[in-house]
Subunit: 189 residues, 2 copies
């Protein structure tokens, strides 16, 4: 809906072609989606990064507590989300440049490549964390791994929730790559 409005706006203003208007519309969508993805990854990183729980009881020698950096996979998850968030914030500059200069092609190809790499990194972090969260919830009788979610309820809720933002960003990245493909195909006409 947004795209078509911008498109017709472009035409009425006497832009060079409706194709240019469509490209600008895609670039604006790209810009907005990047902001959403950046917020999602930031939310995920913060949610996981601050997840910890201390049990209300202590024995003489041990205080029962758990934090995200007890599990290396969660550390990777926070790192991947932070890097993706930083990248998305930086890529806003290039995305804004594409709104202004619709004809640029090389910078779009660069963006597709970087998006693909970041998509891979984020999917990797999210899936690895999901695999561990699954074991934390259900355990694995064959490997004698017991679910720790029975004890650490609030911690588990937090880490499960933090996956959502990351997977939203993964879906947005897929849409961004598709949109870039369409934009590039409309270039230099």
């Amino acid at each position: 809906m947004k795209v078509s409005t911008i498109e017709s706006g472009e035409i009425s203003k006497g832009a060079s072609s409706p194709r240019k208007g469509m490209k600008r519309g895609l670039s604006i969508m790209d810009f907005i989606l990047r902001i959403f993805a950046a917020m999602s990854t930031l939310g995920s990183a913060l949610s996981m990064g601050t997840a910890k729980q201390t049990m209300p009881f202590v024995t003489r020698f041990v205080r029962f507590k758990v934090s995200f950096h007890d599990l290396p996979t969660f550390l990777f998850f926070v790192t991947a989300n932070s890097i993706a968030c930083g990248y998305l914030a930086l890529s806003l500059v290039l995305s804004f440049f594409h709104i202004v200069r619709t004809i640029s092609v090389k910078s779009r190809i660069l963006l597709v490549f970087l998006d693909t790499v970041m998509f891979g990194l984020l999917t990797s972090g999210a899936s690895a964390a999901a695999a561990i969260v699954y074991v934390a919830h259900y355990g694995n009788p064959s490997a004698n791994w017991f679910p720790f979610c029975q004890q650490y309820n609030s911690f588990c809720g937090r880490i499960s929730g933090s996956l959502v933002g990351s997977f939203i960003a993964v879906v947005i990245f897929m849409i961004l790559i598709l949109m870039s493909g369409i934009s590039i195909s409309k270039s230099k006409h």
Copy 2:
């Protein structure tokens, strides 16, 4: 090196432009890389899918054995690799079509999108499996998960090795998406 040979071959045969030759070169590279990726994923799926180990001792009630489908993540890994392998085999048709008809754009965008989805699926499977393999090797003292690789040595070697093929295919997918982006940008000139 291959690309440049094909390119110059095209020119000498009086093709419409060197750009067309370059696109054909990229399409041929695309075709070859897809075959490699399909073999890598097939190898990974078979290697993980046939991984099992039975201990040489039995107690009265229990036979100690482990197989890949004792861990749901490994089942997902095999599924993801099988789907990616099937997709890659099918996409060879479209890739061959691009060698013959270099001007098609819409089918290239379709391929970029499907490649991105499959890249996501494969990365997801490989990373989730890697996270579990890590725990299998090193365990996690905080969660009281003990490494089962000390007992099941041969099984662990097999599942670790099967990750390699999957990650090779992940890298090939990244290259394929980049190459498609370049191909699309050279279209309709």
